[in-house]
C-alpha cells in the first residue's frame, strides 16, 4: 500500500524571477500522476542499465510538468512507465487516483483511453485520413458514428487543421502531423496528456506554435501535461514545474523559474549552463571553448 505523500516541500529560497514569457500559473490541484519508487533495469549482454533507479514524482492536476535530462537519463522510460508502455520492475504509478500498475490488460486498456500521448515522430496511421486518425480512439471506445463525426470536427477546429480532414498524413508537414496527433490524443477527453519529445523533430517556428496550442489546451481544459524534452527553452516557455533527471534519479524538481535561476543539482546546472551557452553563442567548459 503506497501512502500518498503530501505535496513535496520545495525550498522557497529562490525568488521567482520573471522570465521572458509568463509561465502558466502554478496549479494547486490534487495529484493527477503519482509515481512511487519506480525502478526499471535493462539487461543487455554487456551490462545492466538502471534506466530508473527509484523515482518519486507528484504531478498535480492542471500542471504542465517538464521532465528534462540528457540522453540516457531515463526521462523517456519514466514517461512510458506512466501509461505502462514500459513495465517497471517495481514501484507504483497512480493515475487520477487509480493505481495503474496493478490493473489487468482490459482495465489498463480502459485507463489508457483516458491518457493521451504524443510522440516525436507523430506515429499517425498512414492508412487513415486525418479525420479517420482523429476518429481512431473514438472507434476504439465504440462511440457512435454521428458522435464521432461531430467530435472530429470539433477537435480539428481546436488544433487548426480543419481544412486537411480528407488528407492523408503523407501529405502533411511535421507541424500539421503533430496537430493531428494532438487532436487524436485529445479525442477521448483524457485527464492527462503525455508528450514524448513532441517538439524535438520540429523547426523553431512550428515548435512555438505547437507550444502555444498545448498551453491553450491546458488553460481551456485544465488538462494535465507531462512533457519530456531535452530542450530547456521549451520547458521555460511551456511548463510551470520541472524535474531534472540524471542516471535514473530525479536530481531536482520544482517551479520552473526556481530551477532555472538557481539549479542545485549537477545535471541541472549543466543543462542551464549549456542552454545559456547556446543562446549566447559560445560555450565554455573548464576554461576551454567547444
Amino acid at each position: 500500500m503506497s501512502l500518498a505523500i503530501a505535496e513535496e516541500v520545495t525550498p522557497r529560497r529562490a525568488r521567482a524571477v520573471p522570465t521572458a514569457d509568463p509561465v502558466a500559473p502554478a496549479a494547486q490541484g490534487p495529484a493527477m500522476i503519482q509515481v512511487r519508487d519506480l525502478r526499471k533495469t535493462y539487461t543487455t549482454p554487456a551490462e545492466q542499465v538502471h534506466a530508473l533507479a527509484g523515482v518519486d514524482l507528484n504531478i498535480r492536476k492542471g500542471d504542465i510538468f517538464g521532465i528534462v535530462g540528457f540522453s540516457g537519463s531515463g526521462k523517456s522510460t519514466l514517461l512510458r512507465c506512466i501509461n505502462l508502455l514500459e513495465r517497471p520492475d517495481s514501484g507504483t504509478v497512480t493515475l487520477a487516483g487509480q493505481e495503474a500498475t496493478t490493473l489487468d490488460r482490459r482495465r489498463l486498456g480502459e485507463l489508457r483511453r483516458k491518457v493521451g500521448m504524443i510522440f516525436q515522430h507523430f506515429h499517425l496511421f498512414d492508412s487513415r485520413t486525418v479525420a479517420d486518425n482523429i476518429a481512431y480512439p473514438l472507434e476504439i471506445a465504440k462511440a457512435g458514428r454521428r458522435q464521432i463525426a461531430a467530435r472530429v470536427e470539433q477537435l480539428a477546429t481546436l488544433v487548426g487543421i480543419h481544412d486537411k480532414l480528407k488528407a492523408y498524413p503523407g501529405q502533411l508537414s511535421g507541424g500539421q502531423k503533430q496537430r493531428v496527433a494532438i487532436a487524436r490524443a485529445l479525442a477521448n477527453d483524457p485527464v492527462v496528456l503525455l508528450s514524448d519529445e513532441a517538439t524535438s523533430a520540429l523547426d523553431p517556428e512550428t515548435t512555438w506554435s505547437i507550444l502555444q496550442l498545448l498551453k491553450d489546451i491546458n488553460q481551456q481544459m485544465g488538462l494535465t501535461i507531462a512533457f519530456v524534452t531535452h530542450e530547456l527553452d521549451v520547458v521555460r516557455v511551456l511548463c510551470n514545474r520541472v524535474a531534472v533527471l540524471e542516471a535514473g534519479r530525479i536530481a531536482e524538481q520544482g517551479e520552473v523559474g526556481q530551477v532555472f535561476h538557481n539549479p542545485r543539482s549537477v545535471a541541472g546546472k549543466r543543462l542551464v549552463e549549456i542552454t545559456r551557452g547556446f543562446r549566447e553563442g559560445s560555450l565554455f567548459t573548464d576554461g576551454g571553448g567547444i
Partner: protein, 221 residues
C-alpha cells in the same frame, strides 16, 4: 491441333482454379496464424512467449516437409473431405494445408514491418488485440500484404505442378505426362509458356495494386 488446344485450355483452367482456391483457403488459415504470431510476440499487446513458441514450432514443422511428401501424407484427408484423391478439387486440401504455414510467416513479416511507434501509439490509446489486428496491422501493412499475396499465389502455382504429378491435373500435370514422359516437346513448350504468362500477370497485378495503395496514401517507398 484442336484437341491439343482443348487440353491446354482445360489444364489452364484447372491450374488457375487450384492456385486461387487453395491460396484463398491458405490465406483463411495463414492470415489469422500470422496475426496470432505477431500479436503474441513482444510489444504487440498480447505478449505470450509460450503460445508464440508453440505456434512458431508448428509452423516450422509444417514448412519442413518436402512438398511432395506432405501432399502424399495429406491424401487421406482429401478423401475424407472431398471424397476422392484425384482431380483439382481433391488437390485443394493438401495445397492449402501446405501453403498455410508459409502464408502465416509472410503475414507475420508484413505485420512486423509496421512501424513499432504506430503499434505503441495504438497501445497507448487502449487498443485491444482484436482492434490491433483489424484496425492497425491489416490496414497499415496492406501494401506489404498485397506483395506477400503475389508471392503466395506464385508459390502456390509452382506447387500445383507438384500436385499434378500425383493426379491433381492442371498445366503441371500436362507438362509431366506429355512433355516429359511422352517426349512431346511442343506440349512442354506450350505449358511452360502459359505458366510464364500466368506468373507475369499475377506479379504485374500485385505490383500495380500495391503501388496504387501507396499512391493513395501518399506513401512512396
Amino acid at each position: 491441333m484442336n484437341q491439343l488446344a482443348d487440353m491446354l485450355l482445360k489444364g489452364l483452367q484447372e491450374t488457375v482454379y487450384m492456385t486461387f482456391a487453395s491460396a484463398g483457403i491458405g490465406l483463411a488459415i495463414g492470415l489469422p496464424l500470422g496475426a496470432v504470431l505477431t500479436i503474441t510476440s513482444k510489444g504487440h499487446g498480447l505478449e505470450s512467449p509460450r503460445v508464440n513458441r508453440v505456434l512458431g514450432a508448428v509452423v516450422n514443422m509444417g514448412r519442413s516437409f518436402p512438398s511432395l511428401i506432405l501432399i502424399i501424407l495429406l491424401l487421406p484427408l482429401s478423401r475424407l473431405v472431398v471424397g476422392t484423391t484425384l482431380g483439382p478439387t481433391a488437390a485443394l486440401v493438401p495445397l492449402s494445408v501446405e501453403m498455410a504455414p508459409f502464408i502465416g510467416r509472410i503475414t507475420e513479416n508484413a505485420f512486423k514491418e509496421v512501424d513499432k511507434g504506430k503499434i505503441e501509439a495504438a497501445l497507448a490509446m487502449g487498443t485491444g488485440p482484436w482492434a490491433m489486428v483489424c484496425k492497425v496491422l491489416v490496414p497499415e501493412a496492406m501494401p506489404s500484404l498485397v506483395r506477400g499475396t503475389t508471392l503466395i499465389l506464385i508459390s502456390t502455382l509452382g506447387l500445383t505442378a507438384i500436385a499434378g504429378c500425383i493426379g491433381a491435373g492442371g498445366l503441371g500435370s500436362l507438362a509431366i505426362r506429355y512433355g516429359y514422359q511422352r517426349f512431346r516437346t511442343d506440349i512442354m513448350f506450350a505449358t511452360v509458356s502459359l505458366l510464364i504468362v500466368l506468373v507475369s500477370a499475377i506479379q504485374l497485378t500485385g505490383n500495380q495494386v500495391a503501388k496504387r495503395i501507396g499512391r493513395r496514401r501518399h506513401v512512396y517507398e
